[in-house]
Amino acid sequence: MAKIVTLEQRILKKNSEVAAENRRCFDEHGAFVVSLASSPGSGKTSLLEVALGRLRQEVAVGVIEGDVQTDNDARRIEALGLPAVQVVTNGTCHLDAQMVQGALEHVPFGQVELLFIENVGNLVCPASYDLGEHLRVVVASVTEGEDKPLKYPAMFRRSHALVLNKIDLLPYLRYDMKAARAMALQVNPTLKIFETSCVTGEGVGEFCEWILEQMARNHAA
């Protein structure tokens, strides 16, 4: 006779459990953790380089870098004299909670109050994996067009902030900023939107202020 075994299990339950462990670890060490996701080449590492220059004046910062191959990004952060841990996924198109957990033993907690996790460049899979971070930021550069949020809704819906990067290129593009903002808010009405250029530094200060505000709010809670 056929028997039905009821499971009612979340398929990503294991990831959620490890993410909760990561979050506990961050909270125990008093570290506020912000993840960055985007398509490849939208400027996550460049944004970090510029933002960290400002943020390090206020708080102790560190970075976990996720890439399919190379430790180029971790070396860019280390070149600023800041702690960076590289996670090489060897083909996997996203970070999961377990990979982040594996990197945590190399993070000098105690010397890091604000930790960034830069995900693999990909707007699809990273959306499904909670890493235990407090804040999720998605970066989209203006050269990618206005409609990324509609094309990759899961990522934009699950993010707290959107950084529209490379605005120094706007004079050379047919890019409708108003439409881009409207499309992003259509998918996620609570999304906080920043316009930045890592070349001129425009808008990065505002982004940093917001991160520090969120950090203070988290510590107060």
Binding site: A2, V5, T6, L7, S128, Q186, P189
Partner: protein, 88 residues
């Protein structure tokens, strides 16, 4: 499966068929149930149920739907035949 997971039912079905080969579950079938998307409009407060992703309120046309679900990705149950079936 919720509609906002970003997981494609077709892809899930395709890989399930690939992975069941040469296993105990070679004859197994995957039955995917898509959960309708429920949302409340932030503007007119109307509550809607969608069978595919929507971003605009069908009543007032406002953007900014407050989704009440959509992230479901659950293994609900497994239907198996017990040993007696095989022996008889």
């Amino acid at each position: 499966m919720g509609l906002l997971t970003g997981v494609s039912p077709d892809a899930m079905q395709f890989y399930f068929e690939m992975m069941r080969e040469d296993t105990l579950g070679a004859q197994a079938e995957l039955d995917i149930r898509l959960e309708p998307l429920r949302a409340e409009c932030r503007n007119c407060q109307a509550v809607h149920e969608f069978s595919e992703i929507a971003w605009l309120c069908p009543v007032c046309g406002a953007r900014g739907l407050n989704f009440q679900n959509g992230d479901e990705l659950h293994l609900c149950n497994i239907e198996v035949e017990d040993g007696q079936d095989r022996n008889s």
